[in-house]
């Protein structure tokens, strides 16, 4: 009886699998990469381009002969901006699809929902998004910038161009709160003064009163780590009130989802930012990347910071597999921990063995006619915030997200 049942179960699972997932190849001689992203719903501005970047990276890897002589096959799921689906697809990737690596997750909550599933099942996990920092887990590799990497570069530059009095308006969640603390630290370190800090939940879209409040405080510079569509209203209302030429504006988030293209040139020009990527970067890698993107998708405008991070993630993983000569979990982790680097469209990206975060180039930029003009490139910035709390070579069994005390 139980044999029968098990047999039926296996057949049924295989059958449903075959029906539900129109895969190109079902054979075991491929390497499977799982991807979980919000390709529809309220976070699709980020997820869609990330998905495109991942597919582009894999097709390039496959065109170059694949990895270890095998093709890389993508198993991708659209979480439709629903947190519960992250857990579901995470389990699906691990148990049914038995993928060799998982890339994905956009919001921190979605990362935390799948990180533990991957950790328990020893499935290698890449999180390729800028985030608040502090995750310490040997099973995960992260190659987005963290607040300290950005703030360390952005604050002195922006203060140098404006003045010593700084007002911070940040998104009210972990990322915003932690970024605001780092900003305050670097403002103080550079001899400035923070005259006000305000936090806004992600659904606030009316900033008239805030703009009046900021004027009462009279700062020289406003730094605005605001996130998402609703918060874009701040920059538009700021311009509508004619504040643009009176007080300088900087941000650590505006532009990662191509927000500078939603703002008109008059609204955006002059806003200062610091990221790992800009479409205007003038390097051979970026030129090649843009050409490949245009060839694959026709439109060359939809790539952004997060998409490029995802692309870097795929390249880093592929490099690790090549070095390890195997797709076995521990071998790949050890290969990545040798501190390998790749050069992608955003510059050189190096794995930091201690934290599994990325050492990367941070570019100081200014918005100009709906683009991001690179002012200065600060090469190979360390993830100093996470390094302060996390040492995976000393504690390989660590599995926490630290809140970094400043």
């Amino acid at each position: 009886m139980s044999m029968n049942r098990r047999h039926f179960l296996a057949t049924a699972a295989a059958a449903t699998g075959a029906v539900m997932l129109p895969r190109a190849v079902m054979a075991a001689d491929t390497i499977k990469l799982g991807s979980i992203l919000d390709a529809s719903g309220i976070f699709d501005a980020y997820g869609k381009s990330m998905d495109m970047a991942m597919r582009l990276a894999l097709s390039q890897i496959n065109d170059a002969g694949g990895l270890l002589g095998k093709k890389v096959e993508i198993v991708s799921y659209d979480t439709q901006s629903d947190m519960a689906l992250y857990s579901q697809y995470g389990q699906q990737l691990v148990r049914e699809d038995k993928v060799d690596v998982v890339h994905g997750g956009i919001l921190s909550a979605s990362r935390e929902a799948i990180r533990q599933i991957m950790h328990k099942n020893k499935t290698l996990y890449f999180y390729n998004v800028l985030y608040e920092g502090g995750v310490c887990d040997r099973n995960i590799f992260i190659n987005g910038v963290t607040p300290a990497q950005q703030a360390e570069a952005l604050v002195p530059y922006a203060m140098g161009k404006s003045g010593k009095k700084v007002y911070i308006v940040a998104a009210d969640y972990n990322y915003g709160q932690i970024t605001a603390r780092w900003l305050q630290k670097f403002v103080a370190d550079n001899g400035g003064e923070t005259v006000g800090v305000d936090f806004f939940p992600l659904d606030v879209s009316d900033f008239g009163s805030t703009i009046a409040k900021i004027q009462t405080a009279g700062p020289d510079l406003v730094i605005a780590p605001l996130v998402g569509g609703a918060h874009l209203s701040f920059f538009r209302q700021w311009a509508a009130a004619g504040m643009k030429d009176r007080i300088a504006l900087a941000s650590t988030t505006l532009g990662v989802g191509n927000e500078h293209k939603v703002l008109t040139a008059e609204e955006g020009n002059g806003i200062m930012v610091a990221y790992n990527y800009s479409q205007e970067l003038d390097t051979p890698e970026n030129t090649a990347f843009k050409a490949a993107w245009a060839a694959a998708y026709g439109d060359s405008n939809s790539m952004h910071e997060l998409a490029v991070s995802n692309y870097h993630g795929a390249l880093t993983w592929a490099e690790g597999v090549r070095l390890a000569g195997s797709i076995e979990h521990d071998a790949v982790v050890e290969a990545l921990e040798t501190g390998i680097s790749i050069t992608g469209p955003g510059g050189k990206v190096t794995v930091d063995p201690k934290t599994h975060h990325a050492i990367l180039d941070v570019h100081l930029m200014e918005f100009e006619n709906q683009g991001m003009r690179v002012v200065e490139t600060l090469p190979q910035r360390q993830p100093i915030d996470t390094q302060a709390v996390c040492d995976l070579s000393a504690n390989p069994d660590d599995n926490t997200q630290y809140e970094i005390q400043i």
Partner: protein, 288 residues
């Protein structure tokens, strides 16, 4: 002193924007007893129509005040003919249908426009009051809201069409018995409601970051305002918008925008607990 002026402007702006975002829903709900869950998406489409029209070379004001309401009104008309008219008198089913429509429109807008549509700047520049810069566009919104209320009053009170509409609203069977096809009236009402939603979306477009999912932010607020207003269309809209806008701005300035929004919601709870039929269910009876 300057600050007081700024606060007053912001307060009036808050009231005006509540009037604008609720007007379309108020017409549809008040006349047809349909909870249009796709209201926010009609607004979103108004925004996109405006942006598209301006990029194609239309004058900003023409795009906002004429093209957007017309186009969205026509979309509403199509929706009414294809879906809503099968569901009259079935509140629950219309909720399901309009929720489905809202998802459909979000998906459609995503496929057509993608997520990075360049917005339009406000056509009116900011100006200085003492030490403060004020958003000049606020005055335009306040003006439009006032004109809109006057227009609605004039149409309902002064024209034969308004008379029929009011009659059909109070006693649909009687209006039908007098020879006025309820179907026609409902069709016209849904067109007007959609056009008003489109107008609201168009006018707010230069102030918000427009993405296909923007509509979701408005539906709850509009719904609360309309219900709290009660059965009288215009008076209800004015009173509840005025109250909620005032309360939320006071707390926004005193504490923070979050507390402002929470204060609005708490005010709604208290109001409905004290006046279970909405403001105009108790006071201003029989007005419009």
């Amino acid at each position: 002193m300057d600050l007081v002026f700024v606060i007053i402007v912001e307060m009036l702006y808050a009231v005006a924007s509540l009037v604008l975002i609720s007007a379309g829903l108020a017409v549809v709900f008040g006349m047809m007893k349909i909870i249009n869950l796709a209201h926010g998406e009609f607004m979103m489409m108004g925004g996109y129509v405006t942006i598209t029209a301006v990029t194609l070379g239309a004058n900003v004001f023409v795009a906002m005040l004429i093209i957007a309401p017309l186009v969205v009104g026509l979309i509403g008309l199509v929706v009414e003919r294809l879906v809503i008219r099968h569901l009259y008198g079935r509140l629950v089913d219309t909720m399901l249908a309009t929720w489905g429509l809202s998802l459909f429109f979000i998906g459609l807008a995503t496929m057509i426009f993608g997520n990075t549509t360049t917005g339009i700047s406000t056509p009116i520049s900011g100006f200085t009051v003492g030490n403060y810069q004020v958003n000049g566009y606020n005055f335009f919104i306040i003006l439009v809201a006032i004109l809109l209320l006057c227009l609605m009053y004039a149409v309902l009170k002064g024209t034969r069409l308004g008379l029929i509409a009011r009659g059909a609203m109070q006693l649909p069977e009687m209006a039908a018995a007098l020879g006025y096809s309820p179907e026609r009236i409902y069709m016209a009402t849904f067109f007007c409601g959609s056009a008003l939603s489109g107008l609201a979306g168009a006018i707010l477009a230069p102030l918000v970051g427009l993405v296909p999912t923007s509509g979701g932010a408005y539906i709850a607020k509009a719904f609360i305002t309309v219900i709290a207003g009660g059965p009288s269309l215009i008076t209800g809209l004015m009173v509840s918008s005025g109250l909620f806008g005032f309360v939320s701005q006071i707390f926004t300035f005193a504490v923070s925008p979050v507390i402002g929004e929470v204060a609005l919601l708490v005010a709604a709870v208290v109001l409905l607990r004290l006046l279970p039929q909405g403001v105009t269910g108790k006071f201003f009876r029989g007005r419009m």
